[in-house]
Symmetry: C2
Subunit: 431 residues, 2 copies
C-alpha cells in the first residue's frame, strides 16, 4: 500500500509543555515512531514518509505558570492543548499490545511534557477484521439466560472474600429464589485456597442448575476465572462442564493477550471487570480515557464491560460514566466493520433511583444493572428488591415516572420510600 | 493454617483524605477484602478474623486545604499519610493477577481518597516458591553471550520503526563489527507488516551467527516478540531455530499471565521493556511505584528490567532510577526463598559519563547499559564508541577517575572531550 492510502490509527492527547504544544507534539510523534532524540542519517525522507507518525491537528486550550506534573525540564510558561497524532498501521499491523506500546508507551515519560492524557482513539476497520470481538454481546447474553427482556438485574457476592464454597452457594440460592438474573463473583474472589474455584463452581452451579430445572429460569453466574493462561482455560472447561453461563476476568490484571485466549476458548459470555481502572482515570494530567481502552478490550473479546454507576460511591463523575457506557455500545472501528458492541455493567451504590437515568443515558435496555444494598436492603426482602428494580425498569421503558408506576407496584413504592433519591448529575443525561 | 500464622502480603499506600487517613485506611482495607459500603450480617467476626485486610500502621505526613485529585466527596481539610495494610494469602493464594486486583484494584476509585499511591509491597516466600522467576538473570545472560565480564554494553535499533528486515540486519552487522554486546529492537518494532518478525530474525541472526563463527563472540539480539500468546510461542520457537540469544517483551502491554507463558516456553533470557510505565510513575498522587511492580514481573520470569538511566532524557528523577535499579537486584520475597534477581537495563541519553555513576549506585557490573547517540556519535565511529564505554566501565570497576583512565585510553579520551558531562544527581548515588 502506498503511504498516502495506508490505513492509519489516530489518537488525541491532552498535553502540557513548557516548550509549547506544537513542539511537544513533534517530540511525541517522533518518539513514538521514526524519531529519536537526535535525527539520524538513516531516518531518510522515504522512511519518514512511510512510517512516521503525523501531527494531524493542534488546538491550544490554555497556559499556566506552573507545571501540572513535575519533570526534569521546566520553563516560565506551560502551554496546554489537544494534539491529534496518526500512525500508519504498517508499523504495528493490528497487534493490540504493540498498538498500546505505540499510543500509550514511552510518551508518558517525555521530559518535554508536564501533562499527557490519551483521550481519544480512532481505529480503522482492519482491527475489527483481525480480532474476534465479543462472541455474545447483549443478544448472546440474553440467549444464555434462556431469553430475557429489559435490563439484566444483577448482584455481586458479598462479602467479597471469606465465604466458603458452601456459603457462597447458599447465598446464590437465596438470590436465585429472589428472582435475580445475574450473580457475579467479586474481583477479589478468583481461585484462592480459602474458596477454590473448582469447589465454588460445583456448589454454585448445583444450586443454579436445580433452580433452572425447577423454574425454567437460567440465572447467569459470572465466575471470576482470573488467573494464569492455562488455569483460565481449565476453569473455562470446568465452567462448561457445570453448565455455567458466564466467565468473569479482571481485564487490566490479565492483559490483552490473555483476554484473547479466553475469548477464543470460551463457550459463554465474558464479563469484563476493570479493577484498577481508577489509576488511569483519576488524574486530569496523566492517564488514559476509558473510551480508548474499552475498544481494545472489545476487540479482544469482552462481552460485558464495567462502567461504574450514576451517583455511585466511587469518585468518578456521572458525565464520565455516561461517556464510558455509550462508548461501549458504539462501533469499535470506523469504516465498514462489525460494530462489536458490548453490554455496559453499572454498579456501586445503585438503587431503583438510578435505573431510569441509566436507561435514559443509553436509550435502550442492553445493560447489566448490579446492586448490592439496593436489592438486599429492601424492607420486604431481596425478592421485593428485585421486583422493585424491574418495576423501575418498566417505568423507564414506558416513560412513566417512578411515583406514577409505584401506584400499582407495591415493591417499588416501598423502595422509593426506603432508599434516598440518587443525586444524578443532569448533565450526564444530555445527548 | 490458623489466621494468626497464615502468611500475609503487606502493602504501603501514600493516601490523602478529607475523612482523615485512619478512616480512609479502614475504607481501603474493607473495600479490598471483606467489607463493602455497609457492614453485612454475613460478614461475621470469624470471617473477618480469617479474611479481612488489616491496618498494620498509620503515619500522618501532613494536611492541606485542597485535594490533590478531585472526587465526588470533599471537605475543608485533607489529611495525608502512609498506611500499611496486610492481607492473608488465603484470599488469593499466589495468583499474581488477583494479587494485583487486591493491592491495586478498586481502591484507586474510592471517593474517600483524593490521593492514593501504592509505594511498597512485601511478599511472603510462598510467591517465590509458586512462580518460576527469571530463568537466566545475570549469570545466565553472560552464559548466553558465551561468557562476558563487566557491564553488558548495548544499543537499540534506530530508527525505531521504518527499517526493512534487510536494513535492520545491515545495521546489526555494523554494530556487531563495532564490538557491541547486545542489540535490542525498539518497543515499537514487534511484528508489523512493514518489518515482519520472521524475516527480521532470519536476516539479523544470519549476520550474528556468521559474526559468532568468525569472531567467537555471541552478540545478543533481543528480538521484540510482543504479541498474542500463540504468536509469542511461535516467535520463541523461531528465535530458537535461528539461535537467537534473547527475547524482548513489553511487560505492561502483554500482562503478567502472558509473561509467565513466555517464561515457561523460552530457552533464552527475557528482556522486559516497561513501555507505558510513565503513566504509573509521574503523578505523586496516583500510581504504583516501580519497586512494587518489578517484583511481579520478576516472579513471572523477566530476566532484564528497564529502569531508565541516570541523567536521562526522560522525566524520571535520578533518585527514582536508583531505587528501581537496586530493587531489581534485591530479593523478591522475604523469608527463605530464592532471590530471583534480574539485570537492570539503563538507557536514554547515556554516554561514558553515566557508566561510573551507574556502577556506583549498584556496586556491581550486573547491568545492561544501552546507548544510542552515546555510541554512534563517537567522533571516531561506533567501534571507538563501544571501546570508550568499556574503558569507562573498567575505570569504574578499578575506582579510577575517567580522566586518569583516559590517559592511556584514547577512545575514552576522545569521548570525554566530545560528550558533555552528565548532570547526575549526587543523591542518587548515596547508600
Amino acid at each position: 500500500m502506498s503511504p498516502t492510502t495506508t490505513p492509519r490509527v489516530t489518537a488525541i492527547y491532552d498535553i502540557q509543555s513548557h516548550k509549547g504544544v506544537a513542539h511537544a507534539a513533534a517530540v511525541l510523534a517522533g518518539e513514538q515512531s521514526t524519531g529519536t532524540f537526535v535525527r539520524l542519517a538513516s531516518e531518510t525522507d522515504a522512511l519518514r514518509e512511510r512510517s512516521a507518525a503525523r501531527i494531524e491537528a493542534i488546538e491550544i486550550t490554555g497556559t499556566s505558570d506552573k507545571p501540572a506534573l513535575s519533570s526534569r525540564d521546566s520553563g516560565p510558561v506551560y502551554e496546554r492543548g489537544l494534539v491529534t497524532i496518526s500512525w500508519p498501521i504498517g508499523n504495528f499491523g493490528t497487534s493490540l499490545p504493540t498498538l498500546m506500546a505505540t499510543i500509550a508507551g514511552n510518551l508518558f515519560e517525555l521530559a518535554e511534557m508536564s501533562a499527557v492524557r490519551l483521550v481519544d482513539l480512532t481505529l480503522p476497520a482492519e482491527f475489527a477484521h483481525a480480532h474476534p470481538g465479543p462472541k455474545f454481546g447483549a443478544p448472546g447474553t440474553r440467549a444464555a439466560m434462556g431469553g430475557h427482556d429489559g435490563p439484566v438485574i444483577g448482584t455481586i457476592i458479598k462479602p467479597s472474600v471469606g465465604l466458603s464454597p458452601f456459603e457462597t452457594a447458599d447465598l446464590v440460592r437465596q438470590l436465585a429464589d429472589a428472582g435475580i438474573d445475574f450473580i457475579k463473583d467479586d474481583e477479589l474472589q478468583a481461585n484462592g485456597p480459602d474458596c477454590p474455584l473448582s469447589e465454588r463452581v460445583a456448589q454454585v452451579m448445583a444450586v443454579l442448575n436445580d433452580h433452572a430445572e425447577r423454574t425454567g429460569k437460567r440465572v447467569l453466574y459470572a465466575c471470576n476465572i482470573t488467573g494464569e493462561i492455562d488455569e483460565m482455560r481449565r476453569s473455562l472447561d470446568l465452567l462448561e462442564d457445570h453448565k455455567a453461563g458466564c466467565a468473569m476476568v479482571c481485564l487490566k490484571t490479565i492483559g490483552l493477550p490473555a483476554l484473547r485466549v479466553v475469548r477464543n476458548h470460551t463457550t459463554m459470555p465474558i464479563h469484563g471487570h476493570r479493577a484498577g481502572w481508577g489509576l488511569l482515570s483519576r488524574s486530569p494530567d496523566i492517564g488514559i480515557d476509558y473510551t480508548v481502552m474499552q475498544k481494545l478490550w472489545r476487540l479482544a473479546g469482552a462481552d460485558h464491560l464495567h462502567v461504574n454507576g450514576l451517583a455511585s460511591k466511587f469518585s468518578e463523575p456521572d458525565v464520565s460514566v455516561t461517556r464510558s457506557a455509550r462508548a461501549v455500545q458504539a462501533p469499535v472501528c470506523v469504516g465498514d466493520a462489525p460494530p462489536m458492541t458490548a453490554m455496559p455493567v453499572f454498579s456501586s451504590g445503585q438503587t431503583v433511583w438510578q435505573v431510569g437515568p441509566t436507561r435514559t443515558l443509553l436509550g435502550n435496555d442492553d445493560f447489566i444493572f448490579c446492586a448490592g444494598g439496593g436489592l438486599l436492603s429492601h424492607p420486604d426482602g431481596v425478592g421485593a428488591g428485585v421486583r422493585a428494580m424491574r418495576q423501575a425498569a418498566e417505568a423507564a421503558r414506558d416513560g412513566v415516572s417512578l411515583s406514577e408506576k409505584a401506584a400499582d407496584a407495591p415493591e417499588l413504592s416501598r423502595a422509593i420510600a426506603h432508599f434516598s433519591p440518587a443525586k444524578v448529575d443532569p448533565a450526564a443525561l444530555l445527548r
